[in-house]
């Protein structure tokens, strides 16, 4: 690992974990921070290359324009689907009150 400042801090990893709704222990946080830093080191190596005149690769496959016709197909049975949900009411999924998370 280069002796510069770390590529990513524990605070940044913690923030991303919160955005992804992951609860990490202190130990997991420090492991994740080290692993992500190693990945970012690798990206830094790529950044160091002279890539002038090279078109960015949008996808790894050479495919384009995979599309379907606008034709109605089979839908799922509502009662069957709702029976799999923890809570349902009035033909709809019932979820806890929507609140943001305080940061």
């Amino acid at each position: 690992m280069p002796d510069e400042s770390p590529r990513i801090t524990v605070d940044e990893v913690s923030k991303v974990a919160t955005l992804a709704r992951l609860i990490l222990t202190d130990e997991e946080l420090s492991t994740a921070t080290a692993e992500l830093s190693a990945m970012l080191d690798h990206f830094a190596d790529i950044d160091g290359l002279d890539l002038d005149g090279i078109e960015p690769m949008m996808q790894p496959t050479p495919l384009a324009n995979v599309m379907r016709d606008d034709v109605v197909g089979v839908t799922l049975n509502r009662e069957e689907v709702l029976s799999q949900a923890p809570l349902a009411e009035d033909g709809r999924f019932r979820v806890p009150p929507i609140v943001g998370i305080e940061e």
């Binding site: 955005l19 996808q59 995979v66 016709d69 606008d70 009150p97």
Partner: protein, 491 residues
């Protein structure tokens, strides 16, 4: 991030109107983000029906619900409609990609929305308002709609304080195009004009029914204020604007709120604000998340969309005549300006063809336009030949303008659509000039004082004289002709 209203009434602005604060040297800077639901039969990435108003959760499938292993497949018609509206907005259609926009919200079961981010299908266009003002279009990209949440309990169905929420996924996955304007708008009327014109274009090209009241067209406004010529200041995004009228009110309120803050040397905080139709104010909803917080990355389950020149040109060639050009054609035929009220109203109703058909039959487009504007039922219920005949009768003075209006009403009410027969039934006939002259002479003899005043240059005296003739002719005389006749009688 927290979702709560903050009491920010400390800077509730006074009721100064737009003109007053713009005289104080402030200018508003507005950009609009418009989401439109595309008029496809199925969703963007799956074959469930795209249909408004169905029973909740009946138009769902594994892709819509984000079930494990379900894979999206792009709807070709959605791409075609997106291209159609992009080309109608003078955009460049380009090779494009899809990305995942990650966030947790119950109306988005995959925990990400598939949206075009780095490379949208439409870029760099513009829209001209009827008065000629040009608004730049930054992009028009494809994305999927979310499900619909209903908040239960708490005060008035608001998110804040509700007990729980119910989710309907019928709308999840419905194809949307988000049209992002450049921050070119400087007045609430321009914002309203932009939305009206955009809606007409969307309907004309068949891309969307664009109904704000049904949510198939949704408008968010980015508002900031500045002194003209200075750099842009911090902006706020206004949501929950449900009509064109509300849009005008909301951005005007928001601009005034920000001016009050600037003038008090208080910071304008970049945030999303919620328009409340009832109190006519915007309220803090949540701090704006940084774009980074969505952790965009390329959607690995979809490939590049590269329409290619052939498809693009085929779509361009198939575009209908757009509203601005329709208005220009109608205005030209009727001898009016393209942004006159009659032209705007009749073209918006799509009745311009009807008026043009009157002209093709040798009728008068100007007269026809006037009647169609006032009586929209004409275009649906009365054959174009009848209006053509009526317009000729009115133009040649066989009947007066007010008699023509009466005949129009009769044609709409009854099954009788022959204006000549109706005119005869009603006893409308061209006033013989000698009859009219006799009535004018009588009016002068009957009201010598009014006549003297009129001759002395008192225009107001004319009313009583013309009134007498109208009475004598039982309303059949042409007001203009009568006035002209009085003028010739002046000593």
């Amino acid at each position: 991030m927290s979702i709560a209203y903050i009491n920010d009434d400390a800077f509730h602005p006074s009721n100064d109107d737009y003109e007053r604060w713009s005289k104080d040297g402030w200018e508003m800077v507005v950009g609009l983000e418009v989401h439109v639901e595309l008029a496809t039969k199925t969703k963007l990435f799956s074959a469930s029906p795209n249909r408004f108003g169905d029973e909740p959760n009946t138009n769902i499938d594994p892709v819509t619900l984000g079930l494990p292993g379900a894979l999206p497949v792009l709807n070709r018609q959605a791409v075609e409609l997106a291209m159609r509206l992009g080309l109608a907005l003078n955009c460049t259609v380009q090779k494009s990609t899809f990305a995942r926009k990650n966030y947790f919200y119950p109306d988005m079961p995959k925990a990400y929305q598939i949206s075009q981010y780095d490379e949208p299908i439409n870029i760099d266009g513009w829209l001209d308002l009827p008065d000629g003002f040009r608004v730049g279009i930054e992009r028009g990209h494809l994305e999927e709609d979310t499900g619909k949440s209903t908040h239960v309990g708490g005060a008035g169905g608001r998110i804040h304080g509700s007990d729980y929420s119910l989710i309907d996924f019928n709308r999840a996955g419905v194809p949307l195009v988000e049209i992002v304007s450049r921050p070119d708008i400087r007045h609430p009327e321009q914002a309203k004009g932009y939305i009206n014109e955009l809606r007409e274009i969307l309907v004309a090209v068949g891309a969307s029914d664009a109904k704000m009241e049904e949510g198939s067209m949704r408008v968010d406004a980015n508002v900031s204020v500045r002194k003209p010529g200075e750099n842009f200041n911090t902006r706020c995004e206004i949501k929950n604007v449900n009509s064109v009228r509300s849009l005008g009110r909301a951005i005007e309120y928001e601009a005034r709120r920000q001016i009050a803050l600037h003038e008090a040397d208080e910071p304008v905080v970049q945030q999303t604000r919620h328009w409340d139709e009832n109190d006519g104010r915007t309220h803090t909803l949540r701090s704006k998340e940084d774009a980074d917080d969505y952790r965009y990355f390329l959607e690995p389950d979809l490939v590049v969309v590269d329409p290619g020149i052939e498809w693009i040109e085929r779509v361009r060639d198939a575009l209908p005549v757009l509203p601005a050009e329709r208005r220009a054609i109608l205005a030209d035929a009727a001898g009016q300006s393209a942004n006159s009220e009659a032209v705007m109203v009749v073209a918006e109703r799509g009745q311009d063809d009807y008026v043009m058909d009157v002209a093709k039959l040798g009728g008068d487009a100007g007269v026809a336009l006037k009647h169609v504007k006032e009586a929209p039922e004409l275009a649906e219920q009365v054959p174009v030949e009848s209006l053509a005949t009526l317009s000729k009768m009115e133009l040649s003075g066989v009947i007066t303008a007010s008699q023509a209006k009466t005949i129009v009403a009769v044609m709409i009410e009854s099954q009788n659509v022959d204006p000549e027969v109706i005119a005869a039934d009603l006893g409308f006939e061209a006033m013989d000039n000698s009859d009219l002259e006799a009535m004018v002479d009588q009016a002068i003899a009957g009201q010598p004082e009014a006549w003297e005043k009129f001759c002395a240059g008192e225009g107001k005296a004319m009313g009583a004289l013309v009134g007498a003739v109208m009475k004598a002719s039982k309303g059949q005389a042409d007001g203009k002709a009568v006035t002209a006749l009085f003028q010739t009688k002046k000593p």
